[in-house]
């Protein structure tokens, strides 16, 4: 775990920037310059989608990685935010959509989804382990069937189409390049917020609750309240991700938060790694690439392209079996093995 308590006072910003490793700067510049060498499809369908999925999976990482709570309702929170944007804003269903301006419907969407996520947390934190998974899965399933059957508010099976972002500052945000930067900006802010949170009093206490709830109670912490607040924090990230997701596909339907999609978020988070905030984004990129290209590969082998989920499922199984810490775990194992192996020229560990 990262050291939480500072020992030196001055120049903390400079020190923090100096601590960022060179590869991170390289990746940051590559991401910023990506539109210069990637086509619109890659920007929009691969990276844009990866950032969005990564944000929703990041909200699960906050709960599971820092709080020890695996929630399957994060996609549901995201979808609810999308629904609220469609209902309160504009969509292709004017009979239901209220057409409120963006500065009302977007904050309200985040607020309502966050309140819902907090309520889910209030119910779920009274259980542990498999029971938390089951109760959040039950909530996700209930939400899916409710939206599918409710036509007055959620427009039932057809949901809402033509849900697009507002044209702020004269920019068409659904165009590939602006949308890429919009999702990159939101993903970066979410990532930094989680990194920041982990070293705050709340974040430190949350990790204490994960490691030893009994001891945390004996230190004066309200364990249940900390867990619920973790759901609140995670729900804000999931809600923003949900709004972007709806804008990307321009629609929100019950299937946006169907059971397969709910499970996909878990797959993304586990494949990337639940121990660090960057993990979900790595998992999301792998998922997006596989989803988009595996059908072509399967066709090449004479199999149906619809079986790409089989590839993802096998990959998930392999990670769970061989690297429970996901891709990041594999990378850390590689680094540890490399450090332990003798230097070919000098001998001894590197």
């Amino acid at each position: 775990m990262a050291q939480a308590l500072p020992t030196t006072a001055p120049g903390r910003l400079t020190t923090a920037l100096e601590r960022i490793p060179a590869p991170v700067w390289v990746i940051a510049f590559l991401l910023l310059l990506m539109p210069a060498f990637a086509n619109n499809f890659v920007l929009y369908q691969i990276f844009g989608w990866s950032f969005i999925l990564g944000m929703i999976a990041l909200s699960l990482m906050v709960l599971a990685g820092y709080g020890g709570m695996v929630s399957l309702a994060q996609m549901t929170v995201a979808a609810l935010a999308g629904y609220v944007v469609a209902i309160l804003g504009t969509s292709g269903v004017p009979q239901i959509s209220l057409g409120w301006p963006w500065w009302i419907h977007i904050p309200l969407a985040i607020l309502i989804a966050t309140l819902f996520g907090t309520l889910v947390g209030a119910l779920a934190v009274r259980t542990e382990g498999i029971y938390t998974i089951m109760i959040t899965l039950a909530i996700a399933a209930a939400f899916f069937y409710f939206t599918r059957q409710n036509y007055v508010i959620f427009n039932g099976y057809t949901g809402f189409n033509n849900v697009i972002p507002p044209a702020l500052f004269g920019v068409e945000w659904r165009q590939p390049v602006p949308f890429y930067y919009l999702t990159l900006g939101c993903a970066t802010l979410s990532y930094l917020a989680v990194v920041w949170m982990a070293r705050t009093p709340f974040g430190l206490a949350l990790q204490g609750v994960r490691d030893n709830p009994r001891r945390m109670g004996a230190l004066g912490f309200h364990v249940t309240a900390h867990r619920i607040f973790a759901y609140t924090f995670a729900s804000v990230i999931a809600a923003v991700g949900g709004i972007l997701l709806v804008w990307q596909s321009a629609q929100v339907v019950p299937g946006t938060a169907g059971i397969p999609q709910v499970i996909d978020i878990l797959v993304v988070a586990v494949v990337g790694g639940l121990r660090r905030p960057i993990g979900p984004f790595i998992g999301a990129l792998i998922y997006a690439v596989l989803s988009v290209f595996s059908s072509d590969i399967l066709h090449a082998f004479g199999m149906s392209g619809e079986r790409f989920k089989l590839v993802i499922g096998l990959g998930f199984l392999a990670f769970v079996l061989f690297s429970p810490d996901g891709v990041l775990g594999l990378w850390e194992k590689y680094k540890a093995r490399r450090a332990a192996s003798p230097d070919p020229l000098l001998g001894g560990g590197r």
Binding site: M1, Q3, A4, L5, P6, T7, T8, A9, W196, M197, R199, T200, P201, F202, G203, L204, A205, Q207, G208, D211, N212, R214, R215, M216, G217, A218, L219, G220, F221, H222, V223, A225, H226, F229
Partner: protein, 272 residues
């Protein structure tokens, strides 16, 4: 384990302890007919006990006598099946653990329940944070944060400054016991429950533990569970003997040491 010194933080927080004390009166801890059943098994049965403010009490008894269950009922880890528990006059029988801690109650654990994946500084910081405001803060602590200052004082008081940034899982057993005591002393403790603090320590470390316990400020009372009679009878001014979940005998250390029934039952007849 190096020598423990009286933590400056405890003295500094005395005013806070007195503020807490000003709103309540009576015994520091008062148990009336406390019973804890696990199914048909009575772990403790009809335990009645009063401890004055600042009093140091040893609770002795063989394994299975109900000592740790008694602690768990007092701290809120278990809710008693029946009976009342009062802390400085306030009925805390149904309070959750964290509410009891905020009223000045602290405890150490028989088996160290520390946060192995965190540093010493983080552990003590958490202990200080638990009884402070800002537990939900999303602002990172600054170096001038008073909670960090208090945590560092406690770390220094238990002579762990050298390993301040070391992961707790890397500490020696003796250092972990020192850290346990530092956690119990965080904030404004008014009453502490020590659960076998000397277990696993060397004779030298035990002598040092006695120094820290006898050196605690007068306003802090405690109950100590300890199998080492040399430690228990030297740091306590009164003793409660438990047997089969019940209070068996109470008295001064001398009275207990010289009691024939106690010697037969617990000391094997050959002690002293």
């Amino acid at each position: 384990m190096v020598a423990l010194t009286r933590p400056a933080t405890i003295g500094a927080d005395r005013s806070a302890a007195e503020r807490l004390g000003s709103v309540t009166t009576g015994n520091a801890l008062e148990l009336r007919g406390v019973t804890k059943l696990f199914g048909a098994l009575a772990a403790i049965s009809d335990v009645t006990m009063s401890v004055r403010p600042g009093e140091r009490r040893a609770v002795l008894g063989s394994n299975g006598a109900g000592k740790t269950t008694l602690f768990n009922c007092v701290t809120g880890d278990f809710l008693p099946t029946s009976g009342t528990i009062r802390l400085f006059g306030e009925d805390i029988s149904n309070f959750p653990a964290h509410e009891r801690i905020r009223r000045g109650l602290r405890r150490t654990y028989q088996i160290s329940l520390l946060f192995g994946g965190m540093s010493v500084a983080d552990n003590v910081y958490l202990a200080c944070l638990g009884v402070s405001r800002g537990r939900f803060s999303l602002l990172r602590p600054r170096p001038s944060d008073p909670i960090i200052g208090r945590a560092d004082e406690l770390i220094e008081a238990v002579h762990l400054t050298r390993v301040r940034d070391t992961l707790v899982s890397s500490l020696s057993y003796g250092q972990q016991r020192q850290l346990e005591i530092a956690l119990a002393l965080a904030g404004a403790p008014r009453f502490i429950l020590f659960d076998e603090p000397a277990a696993g320590l060397s004779p030298t470390e035990r002598a040092e533990l006695i120094d820290i316990l006898t050196g605690l400020p007068d306003h802090i009372g405690y109950i100590i569970i300890e199998h080492d009679m040399d430690v228990a009878l030297r740091v306590a001014e009164s003793v409660t003997m438990m047997h089969n979940g019940r209070v068996f005998k109470e008295g001064t250390p001398e009275e207990i040491e010289n009691d024939e029934e106690v010697q037969q039952l617990y000391l094997g007849g050959g002690h002293g």
